[in-house]
Amino acid sequence: MPPLVEFNQVEKRYGEGPLILDRINFAAERGDFIALIGPSGCGKSTILKLIAGLSPISGGTVTVDGMIPDNAIEELAFVFQEPTLLPWLTVQKNVEVPLRLRSTRSDRRADLAAKCLQLVGLSERAHYYPRQLSGGQKMRVSIARALSLSPKILLLDEPFGALDEMTRDHLNEELLAIREQKAWTAFFVTHSVAEAVFLSNRIFVLSANPGRLHREVPVDLPYPRTEETRQSARYQSLVADVSKLLRSVERNQL
């Protein structure tokens, strides 16, 4: 079987602007959890946009499940930096939005949305409006919305960046727990080395100006991962290694 997502010599620039991504090559297998980490401006988020087909590539090829991204769009879901909920809709209706846009029947829509809300532990908040939720809860709704379409690939662009550390750790564990039930492949952009190591089985360290894939770090910690994982020596040495790598990448930029 071909890789689920494949980048081959991919280049990206916006208009006549400078090169954002320079000859990116990688192949993501089914079930991979890939963390993208690197200094600001290294094009991490741009990689997600290219997979989602939200922005055209300037060179090379991107294939998603053997297709060009535009055709694979039904297999993808995006979780943004901000929860980006529709404030005028209840939690339940927000989760239903993607289903509604893809003309799912309304009874089935409600059913699927309820299941996804249960998955993120927010069934009791179904009839709340977004403004009545905490930051962490909003992010959970955003994840439930992404899951409503049962995507094969989940693209997460620093989803927990604005949350406090406790909430972030907790949501990381939840995210992995959900993945045990729904086996999607994930691309996860983050600034946090600890988060990257905890979640992923592969870390892509990128350098900036132009964005290049500097190094890939395999994370050999066994799943399921829990709070104990964070205490393990292997986890801590990986965090130290990746931090060092990231610092050296950032130093080279200066």
Binding site: G53, F78, F80, Q81, T84, V97, L101
Partner: protein, 263 residues
């Protein structure tokens, strides 16, 4: 005194103080100049004496204001939808909207009278012209300010253009729409009165508050003029409260401006 009690009695107190100062000012005027500032009870008397004409004038003005306002709301919504389509459309239409806004009503009124004759049609058009611009500017701004990520989300879900507009852009523009609506609501009665002043129909019972102003001022009926001013205020208040109520109905459940957190 508790804070809420204070905040409730204070406006009442300022009102009483204002009326007292009014009487004081009236008492200080020499007897031949007292007519310039009629005391409140004479204005109430004028309400009683001029009741029927004030009422019928207010109804005529209300009709023009409501028609012009409604046309401006619907028209501006359609125009804003068109303007929101592309920057190119905006660039090609905005200058003309600006020109329309900058032409003084006083200049337009005589042209309108020649076109449509004095009366309801001219008053409605003038109200429309005054209300239209703030509505169209605010609504367009709302329609093009949709969160970029939400637009991406809709595109990833293969939303049609129609879905993108009516499920996303229009509801997201509601707070902007209501900002425009509040401005237009306070302008509508003013527009109708100004319109009536310049292009109202003076024939039997068709005049509005603008026309009444002309009559009373030519007769030096100061208390009646003040009564007309109060009536105009009441009309403005009516429009503003209707819009505030409508805005509350459509947004209090979800919009931050209605949240009860006291920060």
């Amino acid at each position: 005194m508790s804070k809420s009690l204070l905040s409730r009695t204070l406006p009442l107190f300022t009102g009483v103080l204002f009326i007292a100062l009014w009487y004081l000012a009236n008492a200080m005027l020499s007897s031949e100049r007292k007519f310039l500032l009629p005391p409140p009870h004479l204005i109430l008397q004028a309400f009683h004496d001029q009741g029927p004409s004030l009422w019928s004038a207010a109804m005529n003005t209300l009709r023009g204001a409501f028609l012009g306002f409604s046309l401006a709301v619907t028209g501006s919504f359609v125009v804003a939808l068109i303007l929101s389509l592309t920057p190119l459309v905006r660039a090609s239409l905005y200058p003309y909207l600006m020109i329309m806004q900058m032409t003084p009503i006083i200049v337009i009124a005589p042209i309108l009278i020649l076109w449509a004759g004095p009366g309801l049609v001219s008053v409605t058009v003038i109200t429309f012209l005054i209300c239209f611009f703030p509505m169209v500017v605010n609504t367009t701004q709302g329609l093009i300010s949709t969160d970029r990520n939400l637009v991406d989300l809709f595109r990833m879900c293969k939303a049609t253009k129609k879905q993108e507009i009516f499920l996303l852009r229009v509801p997201a523009a509601l707070p902007y729409f209501f900002t425009g609506l509040r401005i237009a609501a306070t302008l509508a009665p003013i527009g109708a009165i100004v319109g009536d002043f310049y292009a109202g129909n003076s024939a039997g019972g068709q005049g509005g508050l603008g026309f009444l102003t002309i009559i009373y001022s030519s007769q030096f009926k100061m208390p009646a003029l003040f009564a007309t001013a109060v009536t105009s205020c009441a009309l403005g208040f009516l429009f503003a409260s209707a819009v505030i109520a409508l805005s509350w109905l459509s947004m209090h459940k979800w919009h931050d401006s209605y949240s009860r957190t006291d920060s």
